[in-house]
Symmetry: C2
Subunit: 383 residues, 2 copies
């Protein structure tokens, strides 16, 4: 599996963003798994979360330590069975994994964009991917799925582009970002911009703001886990050889501290701090209700059939937020199947509980992929 | 109300800490409210939480904007009725509000201790306060109470000094610090020590690590609130005049961001970063079970009667952690009354829900304060 690239090279080579600003030319890095069938009706678009990328499954080379980020859910016989479906995953714009983002070269200056990169939103991320679907000649995907910010993209995709998706599987997500989640993201952003190495985003020639980014990741990481997981995994275990008195504040004492520091530091080797700022801002701005109290109007033109999944211990996007989505979808007469899956893994459950999702997802996909689009549309709306 | 000071000036003027190190001379800042009765049997010792101080109620002067931190619970006719009881509150050692801590002058060098301050634990904080009780001639307090880290001190006090406390009221607390809470504290510590101004703790001559301390406080602050409170208080309200595009990463866009930044910055004007490091470490090291699975043995010699309070939306010290305490107390045949109080305020409920606690607490105190100590001891153990 090798990443592919698509650059908006034909006019219009710029994407008009939600803000009205233009961005271009845009390169998108994407990967595909499984064969697209003759009538291009078996595509499944997988949207990634904050720190994800196009490498959703498989290995790039025999030397890779780990497969793609959702390998346990994507492959032959898995939730998204690549013997049957063609899975596509695209790195978001604003990111740093091959698609155009703040660390890309700004054609106007010949230097990395930094803070000259325009604000991008979830809508912009989705619009860029729709341009890729056009390029691939895929008029309508069989399904769109993703967890967390990936779920935001699913919701944006099926509500703003109602004719381009048959089945929607938003997982561990919400119709809008909560105040608590904005708060956590803001802490991460403050940690990055307070790091003197950040230099207002112009650090590409020197040392990146690794301390700030590492702290931002530590915050994120705790919110992805659960009280229960942390208890089971680490509890109050002291680090081998740690002394409460020695190296008091500089050395970790508990294993959980050591683990978090490791996770934070490792992240700085694979992620760009400016991308972290831009993507978390896009996440925070996401609000399908567009300032209304209700999510209901957002689904007015939607034609997809839904499978909504939440996880019992997810406190970042708690089940009640999925349930609000389900109500809004139902209120529009759209078919929706909902499962709150029992798990102790917190938000990360969407990445870890592939086995628990397998039956639910594969049944949902198989039932509906046997029907033609027009039939589905006739069967479900208003049911 | 004016703060009083007590310095261990008589030999032994040093306190032997849990680590074996010695600290001294030690000054404690404390305040008292209400008259101590003739037989000194109506004292209530209130332990403060991480960022608290001795100023628990009332005003120091007419210019004060705010009263003490638990003023709604302490005063005539309140939960802890100062017409009836004499309330004492002491700033912990390691702190920065008048008691000896890392910002105090190290007599050995004539400069602030900084990281030369020894590690202190919850046990050390309590032992210092027991020395103050001796100084005040109070053999036994009627009650000890406190929320959060204050609750840790209550538990330490009544288990390590079983003859010195009749009634114990640990509120919104736990028998040991959870891995999740250690993780949040570690993020705060990393933010502080990553701030270049921290200078390994030797910043007292220059600029304090305000960016790091501010981020640490922001993390803490979010954990003190609840998803529900943040939703009700801020929701997704944009800041007046904020633009998602203007001042993208440097300016707050949402009100919740602006609020958090304000809270973080305000904290740096009243709290010492090294104290934050030391006190959070003391909190993280607290484990009444001393590494056992069970909290039960900790209460073996305890003689107090308990009122344990938790709050439904507190996710920092969730009700289940109070319930573990209650089970351990009951298993030792000690009397314990437990209430999980419904509140949307999260952990901060212990500071805000004084009205909901009033009946419960005042009834608990009045019933028992009418009995003599020896009677209480005869009535309750083994019941």
């Amino acid at each position: 599996m090798k990443p592919k690239h698509f650059t908006f090279a034909e006019p219009p080579e710029e994407l008009v963003l939600e803000s009205g600003q233009k961005l271009g030319p845009i390169t998108l890095e994407y990967e595909t798994y499984g064969e697209l069938n003759e009538d291009r009706s078996n595509a499944i678009l997988v949207f990634h979360a904050l720190s994800g990328d196009a490498h959703v499954a498989g290995y790039h080379s025999a030397e890779d330590e780990k497969p793609g980020w959702w390998d346990n859910a994507i492959g032959p016989g898995k939730c998204f069975d690549t013997r049957r479906y063609s899975v596509i995953c695209v790195n978001v714009i604003g990111g740093c994994k091959g698609s155009t983002g703040p660390s890309s070269i700004n054609p106007a200056t010949g230097k990395p964009y930094g803070l000259d990169f325009p604000m991008v939103t979830i809508k912009d991320m989705v619009n860029a991917q729709v341009a890729l679907l056009d390029h691939l000649g895929i008029e309508k995907v069989l399904a769109a799925t993703g967890g967390s910010m990936g779920g935001f993209q699913v919701l944006e995709f099926v509500t703003a582009h109602p004719d381009r998706c048959q089945l929607a599987l938003p997982i561990a997500t919400a119709g809008k970002q909560s105040a608590q989640n904005i708060a956590f993201n803001e802490i991460g952003r403050r940690a990055i911009v307070s790091d003197p190495r950040w230099s207002k985003g112009e650090y590409y020639d020197g040392m990146a703001p690794v301390d700030g980014l590492s702290i931002a990741r530590m915050v994120g990481h705790v919110t992805y886990l659960s009280d229960e997981t942390l208890k089971q995994k680490f509890g109050r275990k002291a680090k081998n050889g740690a002394s409460a008195n020695g190296g008091l504040m500089l050395e970790p004492f508990f294993e959980v501290e050591s683990y978090l520091r490791y996770k934070g530091q490792a992240f700085t080797r694979r992620f760009d701090a400016n991308s972290y700022l831009y993507i978390t801002r896009a996440i925070d701005l996401f609000d399908l209700s567009a300032g209304c109290d209700s999510l209901e109007p957002a689904f007015r033109n939607c034609k997809s059939r839904f499978l909504v999944l939440s996880f019992s211990s997810d406190w970042l996007y708690p089940p009640y937020q999925s349930e609000e989505l389900v109500e809004a979808i139902q209120a529009n007469g759209l078919a929706v199947e909902y499962h709150k899956i029992e798990s102790t893994y917190g938000h990360d459950a969407f990445l870890l509980e592939a086995e628990k999702m397998e039956d639910i997802i594969s049944r949902f996909l198989i039932t509906d992929s046997r029907k033609k689009y027009y039939e589905v549309e006739r069967y479900y709306p208003g049911s």
